[in-house]
């Protein structure tokens, strides 16, 4: 899923300064699952904003909505009436959802309420960790299902480096396992250690964002 966290309240409050009618819109997909931007978080943020703005002389009206997937225009279409009533929209979606609203409603002022962080998964209650950088050329099949690009702090394809100690990464030993220790252990378990004799060539990063913004076209889905 896409993992995100709420921006500091001071930043959110600064972005909506002077706004008297506001729409807070959540998204019920990734950011709801990581408890950052679903309907519950919309209600909590809206309540916090009302409390914070109570001291202002002018009253602030806050509408609360949440859509199934803010990154798809079909789900956002029912927001049109509410968006027309407000001075600004605070989106609690990931950056994709925020941009979808901005593209779909070109006259609306859209502010992000979240910082989009990474593609990851929950490791334990309250802990999410990065698992995929979206490089566009998946290598997981060669590394026992553990991504050296994402999980190695140096994205080494021929690791480990000298900073691996007792299975931990020197960058943050408390929280980070050494991806190359994980790869070795997993390949050993699978009886595939011979894979490590192969020298990985330099990665072609053109399939990643380094080649510019990416798009995918499926001609079989187009008329």
């Amino acid at each position: 899923m896409i993992v995100a966290e709420r921006k500091p309240m001071v930043e959110i409050l600064a972005s909506i300064q002077g706004v008297s009618r506001l729409l807070v819109v959540g998204c019920e997909t990734c950011v709801a699952v990581c408890l950052a931007g679903g309907a519950k978080e919309v209600a909590v943020l809206s309540a916090a904003l009302r409390l914070a703005l109570r001291e202002r002389t002018s009253a602030v009206e806050i509408l609360e909505r949440s859509v199934e997937r803010q990154c798809e225009e079909e789900f956002n279409a029912p927001l049109a009436e509410d968006i027309a009533k407000v001075e600004a929209v605070l989106s609690m979606a990931c950056g994709v959802g925020v941009q979808t609203l901005a593209e779909q409603f070109p006259d609306a002022i859209i502010y992000p309420a979240l910082n989009t962080q990474f593609m990851g998964r929950p490791e334990a209650p309250g802990i999410w960790a990065e698992r995929c950088l979206g490089c566009g050329d998946c290598v997981l099949g060669r590394f026992g299902g553990i991504c050296p690009i994402t999980r190695c702090s140096k994205s080494l394809l021929n690791g480990p480096c000298g900073g691996s100690s007792n299975g931990r990464c020197e960058v943050d030993p408390e929280h980070l396992e050494c991806a190359w220790q994980l790869i070795y252990d997993r390949l050993a378990r699978l009886g595939q250690l011979e894979r490590l004799y192969a020298i990985e060539p330099p990665k072609d990063w053109r399939s990643a964002h380094d080649g510019g913004p990416r798009r995918t076209t499926r001609e079989d889905l187009r008329l």
Partner: protein, 121 residues
């Protein structure tokens, strides 16, 4: 929701609720500007309950739950305290006093303590 109340108490019925019952058995009553809500467990307190109460005009919110190790639902009291701390941090972020939300551990035998807390408030 209107809540022109000084204090909202969100109370675990198994500890705080019993302490209040013991206090009331002695003829004491809650001050009129205190709203008391018994919950099945401290763990059922939600951050939104607290925020909505403040939004509706409550000056303070207390969350009363069992001492650590005494929760019949095992960890409901710890979750209650966590949620109070979360709201306190949020209030701090928006420039409101975190002391408006208070967590207190209590047991069924603490009617006298409960009375003292209410008098101090």
């Amino acid at each position: 929701m209107s809540m022109a109340q000084r204090l909202l108490v969100l109370a675990c019925s198994r500890s705080a609720g019993e302490a209040l019952a013991a206090l009331e058995a002695t003829g004491q009553t809650l001050p009129p500007d205190v709203t008391w809500v018994n919950l099945p467990c401290g763990g059922s307190v939600d951050v939104l309950h607290i925020l909505r109460a403040l939004e509706a005009g409550a000056e303070k919110v207390w969350v009363l739950a069992c001492y650590e190790g005494a929760c019949e639902s095992l960890e409901g009291n710890r979750w209650a305290e966590k949620r109070v701390q979360w709201v306190q941090a949020l209030l701090q972020e928006i420039g409101l006093g975190p002391e408006r939300v208070v967590f207190r551990a209590i047991s069924p035998t603490m009617a006298a303590d409960l009375k003292a807390w209410l008098e101090e408030e």
